[in-house]
């Protein structure tokens, strides 16, 4: 059978270390890649592509945050601000110094990694809720700096317009072009995140998360591990910020406020802590849920009421349903959407012999 470990023999080290050892997995991944890069872009409307772009960017940020929160067990409420660091770095580099997109992405990511690592230093002494508050401070400090230091933000509006990235002399203006741009980075981010969790660095993250004292005793350098996690995670955040900047065509710190930070945490928690698939599912869930609710409530409501009344009721109902559904999913499966998916997989793994 395609989905069984039986009769899948590993004959070399390379096969043993493969990311996807089972044939079914490889087929699935191939299909996903084909759909994402060939089929979807050609059938999707401009609107669907725009939606996919927002999901793709959010997924990249969520994957990064999940490395920190899910795998290393360090909480951060400052991720929105780390994204804005990436966004402004890229905007300044590209609009003032004419740096091309790859330089802006690397620069934005690195600057964000630097800032994130700095604000990660308190994690060496404090944990949990205390660390949450300290990263909240990072959010506020960074917002204040971007708001007031006009050398960075370029004036009272704190807005820097950037040109769309141009690849091989081709400006990526349409949603379709941006789709490929974003999803290439998402693909790189996914592969990197899947692999880092299998290296000694990733194992150290997990050891620190599960019990840091024990991790220290078996020889893990906690200082280095935690800061590495902050650096990697905020590098992802920085690149996310740069992608947002390129997608919007401008950098503005108000697009990365505390609400956004919390939204990203919600994505990670609903999707499933420590899981790359979970981050993606969480990003899809949080991005699509308000839109689905809006559409469904709107179309139902218009049967009974005029547009203004529908709007005022549906927005309140949406907030309640949004909160309710998040609670529902967490109660049904506290380990998130990725665990739900794993349950389904586990069921079929032994099907039709559930007692095995």
């Amino acid at each position: 059978m395609l989905n069984r470990e039986t009769a899948t023999f590993k004959r070399s080290y390379a096969e043993d270390m493969a990311l996807y050892p089972l044939p079914l997995q490889r087929v699935t991944i191939a299909v996903i890649i084909l759909v994402a890069f060939v089929a979807f872009p050609f059938v999707a409307s401009v609107y669907m592509l725009g939606l996919a772009n927002l999901i793709g960017i959010a997924a990249l940020g969520a994957i990064g945050l999940n490395i920190l929160v899910g795998s290393t067990g360090q909480i951060s409420i400052g991720h929105g601000a780390f994204m804005s660091v990436g966004a402004y770095t890229a905007a300044v580099l590209s609009s003032r110094y004419g740096v091309p997109w790859w330089g802006a992405i690397l620069g934005g990511g690195s600057m964000s990694a630097l800032v994130g690592t700095f604000f990660g230093i308190p994690s060496l002494r404090i944990k949990g809720l205390y660390l949450a508050i300290s990263t909240l401070a990072a959010q506020l400090i960074i917002e204040w700096v971007l708001n007031h230091v006009t050398w960075i933000s370029g004036g009272v509006g704190a807005v820097i317009y950037v040109d769309k990235p141009s690849v091989f002399g081709l400006a990526l203006k349409s949603n379709l072009a941006m789709y490929y741009f974003i999803y290439v980075f998402l693909a790189i981010g996914v592969v990197f995140a899947l692999n880092i969790l299998r290296t000694h660095i990733g194992r150290a993250f997990i050891a620190v998360r599960d019990r840091d004292v024990a991790a220290e005793i078996i020889g893990i350098n906690i200082f280095r591990t935690k800061l590495t996690s902050f650096a990697i995670s905020s590098f992802y955040a920085g690149v996310t910020g740069v992608l947002y900047t390129y997608y919007y065509g401008m950098a503005n710190y108000e697009a990365f406020n505390l609400t956004i930070s919390i939204q990203f945490l919600a994505m990670v928690i609903i999707g499933g802590l420590g899981s790359v698939l979970g981050s993606i599912l969480g990003a899809i869930f949080i991005t699509l849920l308000p839109i689905v609710l809006d559409t469904v409530l709107g179309s139902v409501g218009r049967m009974f009421m005029d547009a203004a009344a529908v709007a005022s009721i549906s927005t309140s109902l949406q907030l309640m349903l949004f909160g309710g559904l998040i609670m529902f999913f967490l109660v049904v499966e506290p380990d998130g959407l990725s665990k739900l998916w794993r349950n389904v997989k586990d069921y079929f793994r032994v099907w039709p012999f559930p007692y095995l």
């Binding site: 609107y47 009272v156 065509g249 697009a255 203004a308 005022s312 529902f328 499966e333 739900l340």
Partner: protein, 424 residues
């Protein structure tokens, strides 16, 4: 298979599937518009904030817009064959959702967009320009966008923050009768929108020679006791110009009352002067407080009476949200411009109209003021603001009462600043 169903249900997946099916059934039941066969709809997209930090504005503003469009369609202003559909999406003041809302408007074929929120205006300016679709940013957003040559698709009608601050300064200096120049305090919400007027205000301070001190209120702006104490006791300001949003204006009036600062020495820009702000502080106590407006306030306007009549004809009570006339009327005003532009474009080009047609039509709007309800706008390619008109209202005897005619101050200074912003 029986086990499969049971096991999946246990995992909660079944419930999810049920919910999804329920949603699909509901979506399928959606009522199709009956008269859709012969009447073509022209779509206006409207961003709204009914659930975010400025929900003190959204519900009133957007209801006003909806009601104007209902009236507009009922009067068959576009003839028998066309009508306007106002498509509202609430973004909760969240930028990604605002961008998504715009994409949804475009998908629905919207020919013009009513933007809401400074960060949303900034983030959609490049897209609007590229898609050749006009967006209005009434009073907020980028003041430099008043120049239609540099920002061809953004219309900051009727007054940008630069024009507002210039008018506020003119009003204050006209009122001032002291021998020396007055000491002016500027209290503002510490975000880009709050700081937008600063450059023009500083220019005016040096030009007119009045003393100016700036007091920033950090977000979320519900605590400003130290700043207001400072204004009243240390700085001893003669006049205060306030530029606050959301719940902050109500709080500020309460604090002015608490420290005993005369309310008739406070003037607020357009987002801090609605009935709800005064409700917070109490009408008696707030007596004298001034506020800038760019649409008529109160219900004593022909257009508002027509809307009320429309409700009466349908046998309905007027909407509750009509009572906050400042924002309700402002919603009527903004959408009336969109509807007028579409009307002109349709007359000139016929169906289908493009975003470019609507933009050109908007630039040609003259002498359209709904009997004094709206400012005497004169929009053009160069001036997307239409003159920067405002009207000052004052809290008097439990209502907002006119304290000036349509006015604009220091137009030369503002225009020079717009030109400088264009050059940079």
């Amino acid at each position: 298979m029986k086990d499969l169903g049971k096991n999946l249900l246990r995992g909660g997946t079944g419930w999810v599937a049920l919910l999804v099916m329920f949603g699909l059934v509901l979506a399928a039941c959606e009522k199709k518009p009956e008269e859709g066969a012969e009447v073509t709809e022209i779509v206006i997209g409207m961003q709204c904030d009914r659930s975010g930090p400025t929900q003190t504005v959204g519900p009133f503003l957007c209801d006003g817009a909806h009601d104007y469009i209902s009236l507009f369609n009922k009067k068959k202003s576009l003839g028998d064959k066309y009508r306007i559909r106002l498509m509202e999406i609430d973004h909760g003041y969240n930028v990604p959702r605002g961008v998504e809302a715009y994409e949804r408007f475009k998908e629905a074929g919207a020919v013009s967009i009513s933007l809401y929120g400074t960060p949303h205006t900034y983030s959609l300016t490049p897209k609007l320009t590229e898609d050749k679709t006009l967006g209005t940013s009434p009073g907020f957003g980028n003041a430099a966008a008043a120049d239609g040559e540099k920002f061809p698709y953004i219309f900051p009608v009727a007054a940008t923050y630069w024009s507002q601050i210039a008018s506020a300064v003119k009003f204050v200096l006209d009122k001032w009768s002291g021998s020396e120049k007055p000491k002016i305090a500027y209290i503002y919400y510490d975000n880009p929108a709050g700081r937008e007027p600063l450059p023009v205000l500083r220019i005016l301070a040096s030009k007119e020679g009045f003393q100016l001190r700036e007091f920033a209120v950090p977000p979320p702006g519900i605590e400003m006791r130290p700043q207001i104490l400072d204004i009243a006791r240390n700085y001893k300001a003669d006049w205060v110009i306030a530029h606050l949003f959301g719940r902050a204006p109500g709080v500020s009036i309460k604090e002015f009352i608490r420290v005993g600062f005369p309310r008739d020495r406070v003037i607020s820009l357009v987002w801090g002067a609605s009935e709800s702000d005064i409700n917070v502080a109490g009408w008696d106590q707030a007596e004298g407080y001034y506020g800038l407006q760019f649409a008529g306030v109160g219900q004593d306007h022909a257009i508002i009476k027509e809307i009320k009549q429309m409700f009466a004809d349908e046998g309905k009570e007027p909407r509750k949200t009509m009572e906050i006339t400042v924002y309700y009327n402002r919603g009527v005003f903004i959408i009336a411009l969109h509807a007028r532009a579409i009307q002109i474009a349709l007359e000139k080009h016929g169906y289908p109209i493009t975003g470019e047609n609507v933009r050109d039509a908007m630039e040609s709007i003259h002498d359209f003021d709904l009997d004094g309800f709206m400012p005497p706008l004169n929009l053009s390619r160069q001036d997307h603001e239409g003159g920067g008109w405002v009207k000052v209202y004052q809290v008097k005897g439990g209502a907002w009462v006119e304290a000036s005619d349509w006015m604009h101050g220091y137009r030369d200074v503002v225009l020079k600043h717009v030109a400088e912003a264009k050059a940079s």
